[in-house]
């Protein structure tokens, strides 16, 4: 080698510079990581060792108008597990299967939840029995990744009584998670599945909290508290409803086991829903924590369709209850007054063209004015009134009275009524082809034909009759009342209609048996042709009381109820209960 002192000195110098440069390059890399980007790595380090355990928040408590509890939360235990991989999860579940008495369905659900959110503890049993919990607690040491948590569980003290409007809760499904309204939801979380629970999900849902567990690289919890304080769950605010729980219970009891149908009671002044009940009902408490398969099957195979809400989903021909709509149109158009008689007297039917249209009263009503026709529900009178109004004006008038629209009640899945469009010709052509006659006018005038209404929409129409023309949208939870003046009549004309409707529940009316001593109930019975069973018509009654100063509107629908007065008796009991008449029903001879 060249060992000349000058060469050596030069190389020593160069090498030293090289070393110093290398040192500073390396140090600057550490400066970057440890000083400039330290925050980023500190968070990454925290994310490594702190595992967030969700703390479910209690859902908002639902109260009735007087502060009675409709839905609340009870303490329950859930069992979850954390797993580094799907295989590990399956393995753990297999080991836990005998202890937790897991069904294959439970395991599949857990696997599905894991796949959706692998970093979140996977819920294995959402609502474990206390026996299972005590066994698990004994073997805690064997299952370090198991998380047993006290979680709130939804409970409805009145169960089936309130199911029709409150709905039920359940775990958010895979399909739900793909929907935009459930963005931010995690598998295993509970959501409202129907009724108020679904409608007011955003209000009733609490804010999930988090607990931070210290875990090692293999995901096992280690001793010592997390360095991050817990984020406590925030309970949702309570939800006050317009429901009168006592009235609701009374309505459910009135239907009992034998009657099938639904009732909606409204405050005519603001549309507040006082009671909403569909019979038969279901027990929403059994839906909590997963519906047992046999119960689900039972509900779905029951021919009486307990899961089908007969108040907002059932659409039926409104029958004679719709005659008030025809009357309103006749009065509004100045075609009749309450005292107007029709040219053809009722002798049990009307010959129109080549067809004979029967009146429900085979003996006939003789010559009646509009008031009498309402009281006695004379079909022949309304056939003629309908013809006077004309088909297109009947349809247009119906649309102006909102019969083609949903009631707008604050519940999910309300069905839309069936009603002709303004262009009736096109509508009927679409329905029957060119092969239809003007006799559709006669059908429409008495609430038959191309007209099916929900109990909710009929009740809404009657709020307008009860309040001199202003209809109110039914509201379970009070908001700014949605009101609309749909009937343009004079106070005298309203008084006339009320008097005629009061006659319905008086001696000689079609629902005389629904009379309550000392109380005037104004209303209208109806029977709807039943397509499935010709001998068993559906029964309607829609009315309000007291007639002069209405405080309640009640619409009752009984499937296979046969006669309107049966429905009227149910309505009368509910009205009596609400207005403090003890639900006394005076037995009377039937008026028809």
């Amino acid at each position: 080698m060249s060992f000349h002192p000058n060469d050596i000195a030069r190389r020593t110098r160069l090498s030293s510079y090289g070393l110093i440069i290398g040192f500073f390059l390396l140090l600057s890399a550490f400066f970057n990581a440890q000083v400039l980007q330290s925050g980023f790595y500190r968070r990454a380090s925290e994310e490594n060792r702190l595992r967030a355990i969700p703390l479910p928040a209690p859902r908002g408590i639902i109260y009735d108008r007087k502060g009675q509890i409709i839905a609340e939360n009870l303490p329950a235990y859930s069992v979850s597990i954390t797993a580094p991989s799907l295989d590990s999860l399956r393995e753990s579940l297999k080991r836990l299967q005998p202890t937790l008495q897991l069904t294959d369905g439970d395991i599949n659900s857990a696997v599905r939840r894991y796949k959706r959110a692998p970093t979140r503890p996977t819920v294995v049993l959402p609502d474990a029995s206390i026996d299972v919990i005590s066994v698990l607690e004994e073997h805690r040491i064997d299952y370090p990744r198991l998380i047993i948590q006290s979680v709130p569980k939804r409970f409805y003290p009145d169960g089936p009584v309130v199911a029709s409007f409150v709905g039920y809760t359940g775990e958010v499904t895979e399909n739900d998670l793909n929907l935009p309204q459930y963005e931010g939801y995690k598998p295993g979380q509970i959501i409202g599945k129907g009724g108020l629970e679904k409608q007011y999900e955003s209000v009733l849902r609490g804010q999930e909290g988090e607990r931070y567990d210290l875990v090692d690289a293999r995901g096992r919890p280690v001793r010592g508290v997390g360095e991050r304080p817990d984020k406590n769950p925030v309970a949702a605010p309570s939800l006050k409803t317009n429901i009168d729980l006592d009235l609701q219970r009374f309505a459910a009891a009135t239907f009992g086991d034998s009657l099938q149908g639904g009732v909606l009671a409204l405050d005519p002044k603001n549309g507040a829903v006082l009671a909403l009940y569909s019979n038969p009902s279901f027990d929403p408490n059994r839906f909590t924590g997963g519906i047992p398969a046999d119960y689900w099957k039972e509900l779905n195979t029951d021919p009486r369709r307990p899961l089908f809400n007969k108040v907002i989903q059932g659409t039926y021909p409104p029958g004679s209850t719709w005659k008030l709509a025809t009357s309103v149109m006749g009065l509004e158009n100045g075609l009749v007054t309450m005292k107007t008689h029709m040219p053809i007297t009722c002798s049990g039917g009307l010959q129109y063209g080549r067809r004979y249209f029967k009146c429900w009263e085979k003996k006939g009503h003789g010559s009646v004015d509009l008031a009498g026709a309402i009281t006695h529900s004379c079909d022949v009178y309304f056939y003629q009134l309908g013809l006077k109004i004309s088909l297109s004006k009947l349809a247009a008038g119906g649309i102006d009275l909102d019969f083609d629209k949903r009631s707008g009640i604050d519940l999910p899945n309300e069905y839309k009524p069936r009603f002709p469009t303004r262009d009736v010709r096109a509508y009927y052509n679409r329905l029957f082809g060119a092969n239809w006659s003007n006799s559709e006018t006669l059908n429409l005038a008495i609430g038959q034909g191309a007209n099916s209404q929900t109990v909710a929409s009929m009740a809404k129409f009657y709020t307008a009759l009860a309040t001199e023309g202003t209809s109110s949208t039914p509201e379970l939870v009070s908001k700014k009342p949605e009101q609309k003046r749909i009937i343009q009549l004079t106070p005298e004309q309203f008084a006339g209609l009320r008097l005629a409707m009061a006659g319905v529940t008086s001696a000689g009316g079609t629902a005389a048996s629904a009379n309550i001593k000392g109380l005037v109930i104004a209303g209208k019975t109806g029977s709807a042709q039943n397509t499935s069973n010709r001998n068993k018509d559906h029964a309607w009654f829609v009315g309000f009381a007291p007639a002069e100063n209405p405080r309640i509107v009640v619409a009752v629908f009984l499937e296979f109820g046969e006669h309107g007065y049966f429905a009227a008796r149910v309505a009368s009991k509910i009205i009596g209960k609400y207005l403090g008449y003890g639900g006394e029903v005076i037995a009377n001879t039937e008026g028809g």
Binding site: D7, A33, V35, S38, R49
Partner: protein, 414 residues
Amino acid sequence: MRKIVADYPLVVTALLLSIFGIAMVYSAGQTDTPTVVARVYRSQLLWLAIGILGAYGISRSSVRFIEWVTLPAYLLSVLLLAATLVIGAGAGTAASTKSWLQVGGVRIGQPSELAKLTVVLMLAAVLAARKEPPRSLLDLWKPALVVGIPWVIIMLQPDLGTGIVFIGIFFGMLYWSGVSWPLLLLLGSPVVSLILSFSTGMWGAWFLVLLALILYYRPYLIEGIILLAANIATGVVAPILWEKLAPYQQNRLKVFLDPSADPRASGYHVIQSKIAIGSGGVFGQGFTMGTQKRLAFLPEQHTDFIFAVVGEETGFLGVTVALTLFLVLFLRITQISGRANDSYSSLVAFGLMASWFVHVLVNVGMTLNLMPITGIPLPFFSYGGSFMLASWLAIGVLMRISGEGRGKAAFKAS
């Protein structure tokens, strides 16, 4: 016989590094779930004691004695290295390699650690024997052979990290012996070609630079042809060689290029190491308190990734102290090389420094993903008996060279 005065800056720096290192090995064992690592600091202490005794012994001998044992020691280490190919065993994460010498199921040591020392000695002997530094590639056949034989054996084990150290030693000592820059560059050109072969454009650009270099340096015609051929071979053959790499080696290289590519598998080590270092901040999480280490997120925390523990627990301050100690040590050794009495001693000193420098650069760089993961230990820090002993024996050699060297009061005549 001259009386030697110890080179205190050298010894004290090495001692401080060793104490820092063993403290970190101790801390590396302080995990939430205790493992065998919790006890290894004790054997590390023992090896340090043995190493210091050995260093003292060597410092009491003479450079001439060292020079005399150079050839036998070199031959012995090559023999031991060759033996690993037959009876070698893997250990730890490198279980599939054969770097450990094992007799009757008992691991004796890693001959490659000894070889790092003896190759330095042998290369120094060969280079010092020449009056002039090598002027052409053909002149380099002897030094190349000295490094090449053990290198090939080590690459057969395979141990990529030690292979890189040998290349570092080779180039460092050639530089110190006076080989000119262009020749060093030409010598290294096939390796550059190999690295750049993954991009045709980059390799093409490099090839033009190489042509310019050859025209400037004007080597013998035959050399020029060999160089070009070698560059083309590595540039073209590289992809085929790549296929021949073991999957874990491929992974390590791939992870070097993009550590987030597969964070759960091979990139995991680097990511966790960077998190540990970065979360240390300026002052660190405190001695033994690093959470990445405690909760086992940091792999190989007592060996390859011990510097991540330094970063996590002592922060940027501790890192600065550790790197400064290394810098002081290396500058001191460079000085010793400069002051050495003869070219053999001078080359030995510089070669030892070059070896450690490559270790530190690659190991510390690896913890921040500046270098590929090659499993090179950090001198005085990483747990490992052979390496600690070899390092202190090297300190002993340096003490002796320093003692015999010229200059200010480094020694007194007896």
